[in-house]
């Protein structure tokens, strides 16, 4: 083994990773086939150059402001706060804010990353874009930026997900993307990612792969995190304006973990800020292969270019996992989260499908916001946590996507005839 876990090392900062080879302690790295290595190294260089180029930042900022609609509001969820205070047995109940990234163009945080990466692809002279998608939020965001910049685009999506997220499939088609349903495996996000990698290795000369989450080979976890960190940076400023201080508690859902790392990263060195990542507990962690909680119910392994916590059996075969949420239904997690788990900086918990559905309904009824099933997981943990916190505790939850894509599926689960 190359690196000892930095869990036992004394850290000056939680924000300095990854190292030059893409490691976050034990996790991360670049585990890809040789065909892709030269391109990954090119990408690393292109990203370094872009980071040092004010014109790159200016263009991204312009697009974030006028195309994506940033900054997204930081919203005081007043009725939910009252609800939690009424529920509290200790006279507590945190003050709950939502970071409204569901209001971004395309309906989720995914656009933040796609705008950054499409600019990188252009800098690298790539003429064709591919991507994987689970819930279809990333696929829609990729199809959107490809339409905006006039680049052809193919999206790989598990056949199971194509069925359960059909509104997003229709959106991708309308935006001019080609959607390739993937039937291998269980036909979910992991299989879509395998197929996207196969496409990439075949068309490496002209193709740029926009990975949707903060995972994959270095430098993807770093660059996706950087593009998503606008979420946490805005929250810092907005909270200073609203409350005159930083929040006490942050909560975000974790599939691959891109919205979560985007919220968390700017706060990692503020040690008083408590941070919670919420994994998809599916039918429950005790049900074999019945959840998608790779950190709470998995072990370290190597998949899709990085070492991270994985759902796998004792022979190193990857399990499919299960979640009601297509966006969280992935057997791995971004390597930085694995490291933050082992260092103890972030506490990772899980909620079940059932709890997420309850949160989904509560949010719709109390706040008039229909959340995506992914942030409904985050809210399900807020439902448990907020009533136990004192009233002066300020909690921010990332509302990373809207639920339009889920209304048909949720109606089915709830037995509502449409």
């Amino acid at each position: 083994m190359t690196t000892t876990s930095t869990a036992d090392a004394k850290l000056n900062s939680y924000r300095s990773g990854p190292d030059e080879r893409g490691h976050f302690g034990l996790f991360g790295g670049r585990f890809v086939a040789e065909t892709l290595m030269p391109l990954i190294l090119d990408l690393e260089q292109a990203y370094k150059d872009a980071k040092a180029d004010p014109a790159f930042h200016a263009e991204l900022e312009y697009l974030n402001t006028f195309y994506a609609g940033r900054p997204s509001p930081l919203y005081f969820a007043e009725r939910l706060t009252e609800h939690f205070r009424a529920e509290s047995k200790t006279g507590g109940g945190a003050k709950v804010y939502f970071k409204r990234d569901e209001l971004n163009h395309t309906g989720s945080h995914k656009i933040n990353n796609c705008l950054g990466q499409i600019l990188l692809a252009r800098r690298m002279g790539k003429t064709r874009i591919i991507a994987e998608t689970g819930a279809g939020q990333h696929g829609v965001a990729v199809a959107t930026v490809c339409a905006r910049f006039g680049l052809p685009c193919e999206i790989y999506m598990g056949a199971t997900d194509v069925k359960r997220q059909s509104p997003n499939v229709a959106r991708m088609y309308m935006l001019g993307a080609k959607v390739n349903p993937v039937t291998s495996g269980a036909g979910t996000l992991k299989d879509a990612m395998n197929e996207a990698l196969r496409d990439w290795v075949t068309n490496v000369e002209n193709t740029y792969y926009i990975i949707g989450t903060a995972a994959g080979p270095h430098p993807y976890p770093e660059l996706v995190r950087d593009f998503q960190s606008i979420i946490g940076k805005e929250v810092r400023e907005q909270m200073m304006a609203a409350e005159g201080r930083l929040p006490d508690t942050l909560v975000a859902c974790i599939g691959g973990g891109s919205n979560a790392i985007g919220l968390f990263h700017p706060f990692l060195d503020d040690e008083k800020v408590k941070i919670f990542g919420v994994e998809a507990g599916g039918h429950g962690l005790e049900v074999p292969n019945g959840h998608a909680a790779s950190m709470n119910g998995g072990s370290p392994g190597v998949l899709h270019g990085n070492r991270t916590y994985l759902l796998q059996d004792d022979d190193g075969q990857i399990l499919e996992g299960h979640s009601i949420s297509a966006g969280l239904d992935y057997p791995g997690v971004g390597p930085e989260h694995s490291w933050l788990k082992d260092t103890g900086r972030v506490k990772y918990v899980s909620v079940t499908d059932k709890e997420a559905l309850e949160a989904f309904q509560l949010c719709a009824r109390q706040e008039g916001i229909i959340p995506a099933l992914e942030p409904a997981h985050a809210l399900a943990h807020v439902m448990k946590l907020a009533p136990t916190l004192p009233q002066n505790d300020i909690l921010v939850m990332n509302m990373c996507g809207r639920g339009d894509k889920d209304v048909f599926a949720v109606a089915g689960y709830l037995g509502i005839a449409i």
Partner: protein
């Protein structure tokens, strides 16, 4: 590093002035018993070097044929311990034919790198090809493998340019596996003229033998690819032959073992007839 069965085999091929045939099948495909019989029959059918696939649930660099082969084996209960056991059993009757284990890193990592290397040596494995461990991570698996006397065979690809080639070759041993296309296994046939040029480029940079694979399906292709190379790798065509031979229930039939071995015989004959 001491001489391995792979080194001795390439010396023999050189003496015979012919290119070798490297065959790939997945361990445990379509079931453990049939797979053992295929393995046992390969040397007599004309395989000079055997690549034995360590099945993985997510073979990202492989095309549909090898994906299906890997999944058939896993479904039939293949595990790393059984794959190593197959090699040990093969070695009881064949101490000459080199065996290279090929696959992805995760099943090795979960088995435990040190334990895996020790058990591989004990079983009689000669070399490793691990698709997703690049030279940048040599200290993880490549250097420990070399230290216990296993060859670590690296893939060079059309994207491995002159700048990168020395890095790829640095700790490679046994032979270099030239991937003839940018793509997955079993995809379109390679452009033979281009491959010849590429093999020349690699041979100019190393004294190691060069084997060429990806997309080679017929004896004719093997023959033309072999010019200038030291060996040709055939994989997808063999596991496709397994697939075609299976009964309606997906189980092996009386045709399965001969289907693979006959194909190997044809490929071997083509390579010996140039």
């Amino acid at each position: 590093m001491t001489e391995t069965r792979i080194d001795r085999r390439f010396a023999k091929l050189k003496a015979e002035d012919r290119a070798g045939l490297v065959t790939f099948v997945s361990a445990g495909d379509p079931d453990p018993e049939t797979s053992k019989r295929i393995l046992a029959g390969l040397p007599a059918a004309g395989a000079d070097i055997i690549e034995l696939g360590m099945p993985f649930s997510d073979p990202m660099a492989d095309g549909p044929a090898i994906q299906a082969s890997s999944l058939r084996a896993l479904k039939a209960g293949q595990r790393m311990t059984k794959t190593l056991g197959m090699v040990a059993e093969f070695r009881k009757s064949d101490n000459e034919t080199p065996i290279v284990l090929m696959g992805y890193y995760n099943p090795i990592y979960v088995y435990g790198n040190e334990r895996f290397l020790a058990d591989a040596v004990k079983a009689g494995v000669d070399g490793l090809i691990v698709v997703d461990v690049p030279p940048e991570a040599d200290e993880e698996l490549c250097l420990p493998a070399l230290a216990v006397g296993l060859n670590f065979i690296r893939l060079a690809t059309p994207t491995t340019d002159a700048k990168r080639l020395p890095k790829v070759l640095a700790n490679t041993s046994g032979f270099v596996y030239y991937v003839s296309i940018t793509g997955i296994t079993g995809a379109a046939a390679p452009d033979v003229a281009k491959v010849h040029g590429e093999v020349k480029r690699i041979k100019a940079a190393t004294t190691l033998p060069v084997a060429v694979g990806f997309g080679v399906k017929t004896g004719e292709q093997a023959q033309s690819i072999a010019k200038g190379a030291d060996a040709v790798v055939v994989g997808s065509a063999l596991v496709s032959a397994i697939e075609k031979s299976l009964g309606e229930n997906g189980a092996a039939t009386g045709e399965t073992v001969p289907a693979v071995l006959d194909l190997v015989k044809g490929l071997a004959a083509a390579l010996r007839s140039r």
